[in-house]
């Protein structure tokens, strides 16, 4: 808490509920996370752990029947949850850029990409059509699209998936936001394009000096991109560590499981892929204690009755984990 002045995004106790026929079920349970200025944060977890919902909730873009029950999210010192709609619209696109998961469906199919790029510029920066168009060309060049002068005339369906994701990134960056939230921006792309997109964001982050939150379920992909990683499991933060420390010395059994699941080139071609047994708890049927306890190889009695807090791991600076078995895990490793 020493670098509070440097905090760009500070989320505290964020709880998201989904309305069901049997009352409301908690999907995100009191998440704490923060992003410093100029920092790149990786948010990792398997499908349904609440990664995307958390980010959508920051911009108050949650779908119907899903709502923030508790918590606050300060961006640049202002609480996003209590902001007026008018202020919020300025933040959306203006201060926080968003890149969505599926570039195939996240662009308006009947609008030329140049116009889609120009829209936020006209809206947030008060540019005229001509000026916005020029800037659109620059942005397309910035994200590495060849022939941007002609490309601004193209419709989304005339571009390949990788190109569209570049356009999405260009739109997200249009107003030079302080924070870029990328929600699994590479999931819909093939592996070589994934690497290009990661390199692109890395490059742009340095050029523009912005913070980035990169949501993914692929720990290997972001190793070279992020400064710090937050691991989510069933709507809670289970580990929060600088990227090197996390890979070198994962403390939470879930993180270990995730890392062990990455196939290695040195593995026998015939060997089975590692996986974590069992499935995450369904919303509304969360176990009483640690949500990971039912799947955890190191689970103790206390894990089934008490929820572990996210606490600094002894003698490891900024490394925090929510596990009663941290020490035991250390020995097991």
């Amino acid at each position: 808490m020493t670098k509070t002045g440097n905090r760009l995004l500070d989320v505290k106790g964020l709880t998201i509920e989904i309305e069901t026929r049997n009352g409301s079920a908690v999907v995100v349970d009191g998440i704490d996370l923060h992003v410093d200025k100029g920092e790149t944060l990786g948010v990792v977890g398997e499908s349904g752990c609440g990664k995307s919902l958390t980010m959508l909730s920051l911009m108050r873009l949650l779908p119907n029947k899903i709502r923030v029950a508790k918590g606050e999210a300060h961006f640049d010192g202002r609480d996003l949850q209590r902001m007026s709609n008018r202020e919020l619209r300025k933040v959306r696109g203006g201060d926080i850029g968003f890149v969505f998961q599926d570039p195939m469906t996240s662009l308006n199919p009947v609008m030329r990409i140049g116009d889609q790029l120009a829209e936020p510029l006209i809206y947030h920066r008060g540019m005229g059509r001509q000026e916005a168009r020029k800037r659109a060309v620059e942005l397309l060049r910035l994200v590495g699209i060849p022939g941007p002068e002609e490309r601004i005339q193209a419709y989304p369906h005339e571009l390949s998936g990788g190109m569209r994701q570049r356009v999405m990134i260009a739109i997200g960056l249009a107003c030079e936001p302080k924070l870029l939230i990328a929600d699994e921006p590479t999931t819909a792309l093939d592996v070589t394009i994934q690497a290009q997109i990661v390199d692109l964001v890395k490059d742009l982050r340095e050029k523009l000096g912005m913070s980035v939150v990169w949501i993914t379920h692929d720990l290997a992909l972001i190793a070279g991109l992020v400064d710090r990683v937050v691991v989510l499991y069933a709507g809670t933060v289970v580990e929060d560590a600088p990227v090197d420390a996390l890979y070198a010395n994962p403390r939470h059994p879930y993180t270990r499981g995730l890392l062990a699941s990455i196939p290695k080139l040195s593995d026998q071609p015939t060997s089975r892929l590692n996986s974590i047994g069992g499935t995450p708890p369904e919303p509304g049927r969360r176990p009483q204690g640690c949500p990971f306890a039912p799947r955890c190889p190191l689970a103790m009695d206390i894990c089934r009755t008490h929820v572990p807090k996210l606490e600094p791991v002894a003698a490891a600076g900024h490394h925090r984990a929510a596990c009663f078995a941290v020490e035991k895990a250390q020995e097991a490793a």
């Binding site: 873009l61 308006n108 490309r151 419709y155 290009q196």
Partner: protein, 319 residues
């Protein structure tokens, strides 16, 4: 990287294929649709310029040449007052088009606005607007139009007469416009609900698409999202509905004129010509056949065009 950069370069040599160009390409290969399009174009041309090109005035009577069979001098013959039926059918095309275009435009504007609001903003707007739509649809069309005509026509005519006497402005003498006003108004009143329902359904499905969330994440206002993201994407089915709606409006106008609650004589309308022809069809079948055939042709043309547009604008439906 290089693979990515060369691929679009190849693509760029072809002209960009827009959705509309693509649709036009598919439409061109559909013979029935092109037939419909040609007929519609011909009718539109006739409506605009026809009355200036006909050999006779649609009102001029030639009592020496009454009820003549079709000949070179009178392509569709003459009616019981010796008026040239061809000229009257041509002028009737103008009436039909005027009514169809104006009524469809009003209905479209009302329907699109209400449907978009209902679909985009949800309850309570949705509930109220859909309730209004259901109520409007449940009233029998003909009955409503007859009631409007019967109850409003005389008061408006009297008011116009009073205005004329008070101001001596010749504008108030032009009673033909009362007919049109009442026809436009009453037909628009019953024609908007299908558009409202269609637009609402479209908007409901579009509202949940990722690009709408993406637009919201850009901080765009609801108005811009509605006008530039939602409505353009709902346009395809709407165009199809409009094409079919124009044909329906023409038939509806003829039906009202046939019943005597539409456009009144002497202004020619296909409907009142059919109505007149029906009384003497055993002796002079051409008086019924000419306007009825043109009406049928127009109706079929619009429906072929509508079907063709439906296929052309819906890439999933055709190969």
């Amino acid at each position: 990287m290089s693979a990515i950069q060369t691929q679009p370069a190849i693509l760029a040599e072809e002209p960009p294929v827009s959705l509309w160009r693509d649709a036009w390409y598919r439409l061109k290969r559909n013979r029935l649709a092109i037939f419909g399009l040609l007929i519609v174009a011909l009718l539109a041309f006739t409506a605009l310029f026809g009355p200036y090109l006909t050999p006779y005035d649609f009102l001029s009577q030639d009592l020496a040449a009454r009820n003549q069979a079709p000949s070179l001098a009178h392509l569709f013959g003459t009616d019981d007052l010796g008026r040239d039926v061809f000229s009257r059918v041509v002028y009737g095309t103008r009436t039909a088009f005027l009514v169809a275009v104006v009524v469809t435009t009003i209905a479209l504007v009302i329907g699109t606005a209400l449907g978009a609001i209902a679909g985009f903003f949800g309850n309570p707007f949705d509930r109220v607007i859909m309730w209004l739509t259901d109520v409007t649809m449940s009233v029998p069309n003909l009955l409503l139009v007859v009631v409007i005509n019967a109850s409003l026509k005389t008061p408006i005519a009297q008011w116009m007469e009073a205005r004329y006497l008070a101001t001596l402005n010749p504008f108030y003498r032009e009673t033909v416009w009362i007919d049109f006003l009442l026809v436009f108004g009453s037909m628009a009143l019953i024609s908007w609900p299908p558009y409202a329902r269609l637009v609402r359904a479209q908007v409901l499905s579009i509202r949940s698409r990722p690009y709408i969330t993406a637009a919201q994440a850009l901080g765009l206002s609801n108005r811009i999202i509605l006008m530039r993201y939602v409505v353009p994407n709902a346009l395809g089915p709407l165009i199809v509905a409009v094409s079919a709606g124009l044909g329906t409006a023409m038939v509806l106008e003829s039906a009202f004129s046939f019943l005597g609650v539409g456009v009144n004589p002497p202004t020619p309308s296909w409907g009142n010509m059919i109505s007149d022809g029906l009384r003497v069809w055993q002796h002079y079948p051409h008086l019924l056949a000419a306007p009825a055939a043109v009406l049928g042709l127009a109706s079929v043309a619009f429906s072929f065009l509508g079907d063709g547009l439906n296929d052309a604008l819906n890439p999933r439906g055709s190969k």
